[in-house]
Symmetry: C2
């Protein structure tokens, strides 16, 4: 990891509530790593926005994205400006007034121009990083990708340079005139859980669920 | 709800795996309603994509979005092309090969040009719909919004016309040559749970958590 914080730009600066902005890499990277999916924004040939959900992985100071080599959207994203947004919602914030309802969340935006990884070995290694990010430990349970599988996949690499995190983490904040109202206020935590594993019906061998599934957890 | 299915357009057509596409309103609306947040893609003044996470609500055949009246992004989205993408991940799909790993998911994309709701009464009603979508039942527990609160909020309405859902729901699909491999395959379900409620430290009255928090659930 590059130790220097990322520079604020006009795009990543938080104009309205600047105290929610974070530009240090450990904060940004922990959100990227915990999240399973991101939303990638591109501009189509007619100048209109398109947003697609996809898996991602972080490889050092780069974000990796992948998809079928036949994917139109990945072809558009390659060598074009994208905005990758990653969002984790930690709790709902129930205030004493409807107006102050909110959420505690952690989000990241990354702006930049992804490059396609064209070298087979490098693309193969990137796909291994992507599987490891999705299901930690799974890479040791399955065979390596074949060259044809690697070539059937488009892998993009986006340098994490113009990026920032935005975090709200705290109790409801109400107006003084509502503080004596007879209304409960607080947080409603949101948790994501995984499992138990469901074995495929077409298994030919009688195998227990693999460690990667039984012990699944997101980095945090 | 309008009963007619939505027309496929060049933007909502699924070129690669068309059987995952759904254009009927009940399917699209159930995904919109179950999800708490969406990702809104816009094109900035320099022609570059920006994607922001935000709460949404469905009001009949319209999608409602809101934010501070000071929000740059809402000002940009108003009267401009947006793409709103909503994603639910139901399970991870662990195949016998890394290549066939996937997820079961339900996603929706909506393309269109949102309009700002400028009438105070209509904006107030829309904010009520937004609070109800976020925390069902909460609207009856808190006081109504004041006119100043309504005016401090920008509410956008986007007709759900050019929209589609994309759904994968099934077991791992592996290549025949991997079917005898000694690798467990199956699904890892992902669940989102809510609570228990955490009462705010600055409560002045000794009130139990409100029904909307205790009984919280998403529509499904």
């Amino acid at each position: 990891m590059t130790e220097a914080a990322m520079a604020e730009t006009a795009r990543t600066e938080l104009k309205r509530i600047p105290e929610r902005g974070h530009f240090d890499r450990p904060t940004v990277y922990s959100i990227i790593d915990e999240a399973m999916i991101c939303h990638v924004g591109i501009v189509d040939a007619d100048g209109r926005p398109v947003v697609i959900p996809t898996f991602h992985a972080r490889d050092g100071d780069d974000l990796l994205l992948h998809g079928s080599a036949a994917s139109r959207l990945l072809r558009t994203a390659r060598n074009s400006e994208v905005c990758v947004t990653i969002t984790l919602i930690d709790s709902l914030v129930l205030a004493r007034s409807a107006f102050h309802h909110s959420a505690n969340y952690r989000s990241v935006v990354i702006f930049g121009v992804p490059e396609q990884i064209t070298d087979d070995d490098e693309a193969g290694a990137a796909l291994d990083v992507l599987v490891e990010a999705l299901v930690p430990g799974r890479g040791t349970e399955v065979r390596p990708n074949t060259r044809n599988e690697i070539r059937a996949t488009t892998v993009l690499r986006l340098a994490i340079n113009e990026a920032s995190a935005k975090i709200r983490n705290g109790p409801p904040v109400d107006d003084e005139e509502d503080m004596d109202a007879s209304v409960w206020a607080g947080l409603l935590p949101i948790k994501t859980s995984f499992g138990p594993p469901v074995t495929a019906d077409d298994m030919r061998l009688d195998l227990p669920p693999s460690d990667s599934a039984v012990n699944y957890r997101r980095p945090s």
